[in-house]
């Protein structure tokens, strides 16, 4: 017995001392302060954090971890969304059927549930994150700019959820999008039913009409249809996540650069 354990122990040592192991983990066990620094510096995922942080800012009482949770939800949604893309085809013929199939027979079709509930949860956590930041006055100098970035991220979150809402192509989806997108028709100057649009005329030609107004740009058609589905799909899967990821990078970077998690000035 003793021998076996000793052998295991030396095998473990041999592993941790091998070139391979050392090339991956640049530091020893995170028990010394030096290694605490090293782990934060050498790990790409952890280096978003500073090495040390104010005690108040680390406490859940203060941050509620809402920003972190939101980011984690974004990762969960990216992962499940990626998987869902393997089974979902954004066409009017198949979209609905594919969603049925996800529920009926696709192995681990529960991915769709995780994706949907995660999306709802993310909207809530984004709100609460903003709420917390406001309540602690953390938007005040020097963090004004980052608050602005955060507001845009909030809008992107809503848009991501909104574009995803259409994809199941059921009654809930198309009518929610129809209702939601009809407002674009009333954009001043840019929507057919917007104020002052009627003034935009060139002879008899209405420059803004149902075939080219703001709503058309959103839907890719005069009413929610095949083009809308494709358009929303592309936005949902590529356009908006990219924009969000980019702004998130800015957001996190600025958290660090603006003095870390806020605290009393």
């Amino acid at each position: 017995m003793q021998k076996i354990l000793n052998a295991l122990s030396s095998a473990w040592d041999a592993t941790t001392e091998s070139q391979v192991w050392k090339s991956i983990f640049r530091h020893g066990a995170v028990s010394s302060n030096r290694n605490r620094v090293l782990v934060m510096m050498s790990n790409v995922f952890l280096h978003l954090h500073p090495v040390k942080s104010r005690k108040a800012g680390i406490k859940l009482r203060y941050t509620w971890c809402m920003g972190g949770i939101t980011f984690f939800l974004f990762l969960v949604l990216t992962f499940t969304g990626l998987l869902l893309m393997f089974y979902y085809r954004p066409t009017v013929e198949y979209a609905y059927a594919d969603i049925i199939d996800l529920g009926e027979h696709v192995p681990l079709g529960v991915m769709r549930e995780i994706h949907r509930w995660g999306a709802h949860a993310m909207v809530i956590t984004v709100w609460l994150h903003m709420f917390r930041v406001f309540m602690t006055g953390s938007y005040k100098p020097p963090r004004e700019f980052n608050w602005g970035v955060g507001v845009i991220l909030l809008v992107l979150t809503l848009l991501l959820s909104f574009t995803g809402y259409l994809l199941p192509w059921d009654q809930l989806a198309i009518w929610a999008i129809t209702v939601g997108s009809n407002m674009a028709r009333a954009t001043p100057l840019l929507g057919t039913e917007g104020p002052l649009t009627a003034a935009l005329k060139l002879g008899d030609i209405n420059i803004i009409n149902a075939g080219n107004d703001a709503r058309f740009a959103l839907l890719g058609a005069r009413s929610v249809g095949e083009n809308t589905l494709l358009r929303f799909y592309v936005l949902h899967c590529v356009g908006l996540p990219l924009a969000a990821a980019l702004l998130m990078a800015v957001h996190f970077w600025r958290v660090r650069k603006d003095g870390g998690i806020s605290g009393p000035m």
């Binding site: 605490r36 952890l46 942080s53 059921d170 009393p264």
Partner: protein
């Protein structure tokens, strides 16, 4: 029991609910001692009991248990909890400031290692959240209704829940305002907050006293004009966008009067007892004046010191702010504030006078 349900149904009506919520909001900021642990426990017990008992009502259950409405229940509880939590901490800090102590956050300025203290809690959050999400997903199937049918719109047709505040605004404003201008202004308004809020205090810690006006305005916008409208839009708006109490059956055939009149009708028809003038500008002149006064003249007036204002407007003087903020910040801030307040104002005008439009130029889709 029936009486109680009827009472709740009555209290959920838009007028009553909105008024009650506004009054409660104002009182809660005035008597800050209610933000205590005891009240929180009590509130939690009452809300949970209300929810639990209401589940036995089939109509309540039908609406609350709809899969896509489940997040709204979370919103209800989470927003309530965090509002309490932030204000509770703010009130605690205020007490400390009052007796000259440091705020809690300031006492913990000492720096600690991120590994393991922060990283560990983050990991725990991830694990717990994953568990929560998986359990939620196993227990509750995502909704899938009938296949899309462009020819048959379900009644009611609702936007996704987080946009129901906007959809609710659409009841009171034309789409170009509620659907385009206001959302844009909400986003812009949020973004300019750091630039118009010049109060140097309350940066990085919870407080209420030191930022009372900012917090009051923000909370009113967030809690009453957004979250409350989302919740009522989800749970209380039924077929034909009629209001239904939480215990009422959503009857497709229920009819409610929708007799809306414009300011021009009040002025020309009811006051002067003559038909509307055919010239639209003459027709709408009163509404235009009112609007211009509200958005253009009122901010200027409010910037003046109290003694230079007519008596009935003295209370509204914001001269202090004007002085402190400078004119640019002041005007941006006040305009945004007035626009925000235009929603409750319009709501009350609607409920009180069935007012539809203050200015109505249907010819060019320009209605306010």
């Amino acid at each position: 029991m029936e009486l109680f349900k009827n009472l709740i149904n009555w209290a959920s009506g838009p007028t009553v609910l909105f008024t009650l919520a506004t009054v409660a909001f104002v009182l809660s900021l005035k008597y800050t001692q209610i933000w205590s642990k005891k009240v929180a426990y009590l509130g939690f017990v009452v809300m949970t009991a209300f929810y639990f008992l209401s589940m036995f009502d089939p109509n309540f259950y039908l609406i609350v248990a709809k899969p896509d409405n489940v997040p709204i229940t979370f919103v209800l509880f989470l927003v309530a909890f965090f509002t309490w939590y932030s204000l509770y901490q703010g009130v605690e800090n205020d007490k400390r400031i009052a007796v000259g102590e440091e705020v809690l956050e300031k006492q913990e300025q000492e720096k600690v290692w991120v590994w393991p203290d922060l990283v560990y809690t983050e990991l725990l959050c991830m694990v717990l959240l994953s568990i929560g999400l998986m359990v939620w997903s196993i227990l509750l199937d995502a909704p899938l209704e009938q296949p899309a049918n462009p020819a048959d719109s379900p009644n009611p047709s609702k936007a996704p829940w987080y946009f129901l505040g906007l959809q609710e605004m659409l009841v009171y404003f034309d789409p170009w305002l509620a659907g385009v201008v206001f959302p844009t202004l909400i986003v812009v308004g949020l973004m300019v907050i750091p630039y118009i809020d010049t109060n140097p205090k309350g940066n990085g810690y919870f407080t209420l006293k030191e930022r009372k006006a900012e917090i009051a305005i923000f909370l009113y916008g967030f809690l009453i004009l957004w979250v409350l409208l989302v919740i009522s839009g989800t749970f209380l708006r039924g077929p034909n966008w009629n209001f239904f109490g939480p215990y009422e059956y959503w009857d497709q055939h229920r009819v409610e009067p929708l007799l809306n009149v414009n300011v021009s009708d009040f002025f020309w028809v009811q006051l002067l007892n003559r038909p509307l003038p055919s010239n639209p500008f003459l027709r709408e002149f009163l509404g235009v004046i009112l609007t211009v006064v509200y958005v253009g003249v009122l901010p200027v007036l409010m910037a003046r010191p109290k003694d230079k204002l007519p008596g009935f407007l003295k209370w509204a003087s914001l001269h202090g702010y004007y002085e402190r903020m400078g004119s640019a910040r002041y005007y941006v801030g006040v305009s945004l504030f007035l626009l925000m307040m235009s929603l409750p104002i319009k709501m009350y005008l609607r409920w009180a006078f069935n007012l539809k439009y203050i200015v109505a130029f249907p010819e060019i889709f320009f209605n306010i």
